[in-house]
């Protein structure tokens, strides 16, 4: 059967559309800027629509979408670094979810996401893709274009580092909600 425009459109609606919420989540967690993250997702979707015919039919649409998005995010983050742009903590936090279950959760989530933001970008990506987006190690390796071994070591280092960050006192000036008691509370 000839692959026609309408079938392609149906495929796109079926395979791309359900991924949009997850793509937004990944972009925002990486960029910590709602508007910039959504711009990135829009860019990603436009590219996906334009390249739909070039997609390997045996490939997984989700992995493919995350690959496009990750590459866009990585180049955006590099631009930011080059321009010396630095987001203020307030900006970054306004981009975070604002509907936690409780006050305690709110503080816990804020600390955790601050810690996540303090990780090197390569560890943060792996942690988000594996732990939050539930990509397999192989899929994560494909998205980041690195060997699985690299995914595993970044994952291990990222988890360890984040645990240490949560374990240590909050930086001066910030409200102290971290520390030992906090760690016990996570458990």
């Amino acid at each position: 059967m000839v692959k026609t425009e309408s079938i392609a459109m149906n495929d796109m609606m079926l395979l791309i559309e359900p991924q949009i919420p997850a793509l937004r989540r990944y972009a925002r967690a990486l960029l910590r800027d709602t508007a910039a993250a959504d711009d990135l997702v829009q860019d990603c979707l436009e590219r996906a629509i334009g390249r739909w015919h070039q997609r390997r039919s045996d490939g997984d649409a989700r992995t493919w979408l995350f690959t496009i998005l990750h590459n866009l995010a990585a180049s955006r983050l590099r631009q930011r670094t080059r321009r010396g742009l630095h987001m203020s903590l307030e900006d970054a936090e306004s981009a975070l979810p604002a509907r936690p279950a409780s006050q305690e959760d709110a503080l816990r989530h804020r600390d955790l996401l601050r810690g996540l933001a303090a990780l090197p970008e390569d560890q943060r990506s792996v942690l988000l893709l594996v732990a939050v987006e539930e990509l397999s190690y192989a899929e994560t390796a494909a998205v980041l274009d690195v060997p699985i071994g690299t995914v595993m070591s970044r994952l291990s280092r990222g988890r360890h580092k984040l645990m240490q960050l949560m374990d240590s006192p909050a930086p001066a000036g910030a409200e102290s909600t971290s520390g030992q008691t906090h760690l016990r509370r996570i458990k």
Binding site: M13, V41, Y137
Partner: protein
């Protein structure tokens, strides 16, 4: 089953992510039972994983903003492809300029190829541009020769066609003709209203995209709709905003699905 393989850091990570085979998972579990300090670290990672998901979950639960509506983005892309000055048009012009010399290589610049109702819509717009402004002889067979026109077009298309009736919408049938397209012969029917606004309906068999839902077309001054039904493609275009033509296209579609 005990493999005897030593437990590695990767095993601990995979244990957290529930990515281990059942046999290996049991081995790791037994190992953690013997090593409470490492078990505590692994439990911390698992809690961290849950907490990250909880913290970021609300983002994925937000309503998707309209700018990220996939249907809208697809539609916007289709419109861009039709707009004069777009890549496809530039490539087509280049094709003409290069002529027979390197026509084949120039063709490849028009990727992705315009097929299906996209091509049909372009053909309708091209026919409209040639025949609708013609004040002297817009049609080859006028409304009086409706039956003859239907026979002629049906024969050449090797498919029975009918002429949609848009009188209730205020558009008189003017007549029609057979036109040439890159995908073979097509029937062109013209209509006009009291103000002289003309509408064209193009009909031809579809080699690809034999069934396609109605798509909006936009070529600057000419707009309209195209769709395909049971292997026959239809496009309705005019010099009017597409939204104004929507009820007319719906009416044509309704008549056709009722007749064929």
């Amino acid at each position: 089953m005990i493999t005897g393989r030593p437990i590695g850091e990767d095993d601990l990570q995979a244990y957290v992510d529930q990515a281990l085979e059942p046999a290996r998972r049991d081995e790791v579990k037994a190992y953690l039972d013997r090593h409470p300090d490492i078990a505590a670290r692994v439990a911390g990672y698992a809690a961290q994983r849950d907490a990250l998901r909880d913290a970021l979950k609300p983002i994925a639960e937000e309503p998707v903003p309209p700018e990220l509506s996939l249907a809208r983005l697809i539609e916007a892309r289709e419109r861009r492809r039709f707009r004069p000055g777009s890549r496809a048009v530039a490539a087509a012009v280049l094709c003409l300029a290069l002529g027979g010399v390197s026509g084949w290589s120039a063709r490849s610049l028009t990727l992705p190829p315009e097929t299906g109702i996209i091509a049909l819509g372009e053909e309708a717009a091209a026919s409209y541009a040639v025949y609708a402004p013609d004040r002297k002889r817009p049609v080859e067979i006028d409304a009086g020769g409706r039956d003859e026109l239907i026979r002629w077009v049906s024969n050449r298309l090797q498919h029975p066609v009918s002429v949609p009736d848009l009188a209730t919408a205020g558009y008189r049938f003017m007549g029609g003709r057979l036109v040439a397209t890159a995908h073979g012969p097509a029937g062109l029917f013209l209509y006009d209203d009291d103000k002289g606004i003309r509408i064209a309906v193009l009909v031809r068999p579809m080699a690809v995209e034999k069934e396609a839902t109605m798509s909006e077309l936009n070529y600057g001054s000419v707009a309209g709709y195209a769709w395909a039904n049971d292997g026959i493609g239809y496009s309705l275009v005019s010099e009017a905003p597409a939204q104004m033509l929507h009820p007319l296209a719906d009416e044509v579609r309704r008549q056709i699905s009722g007749k064929i």
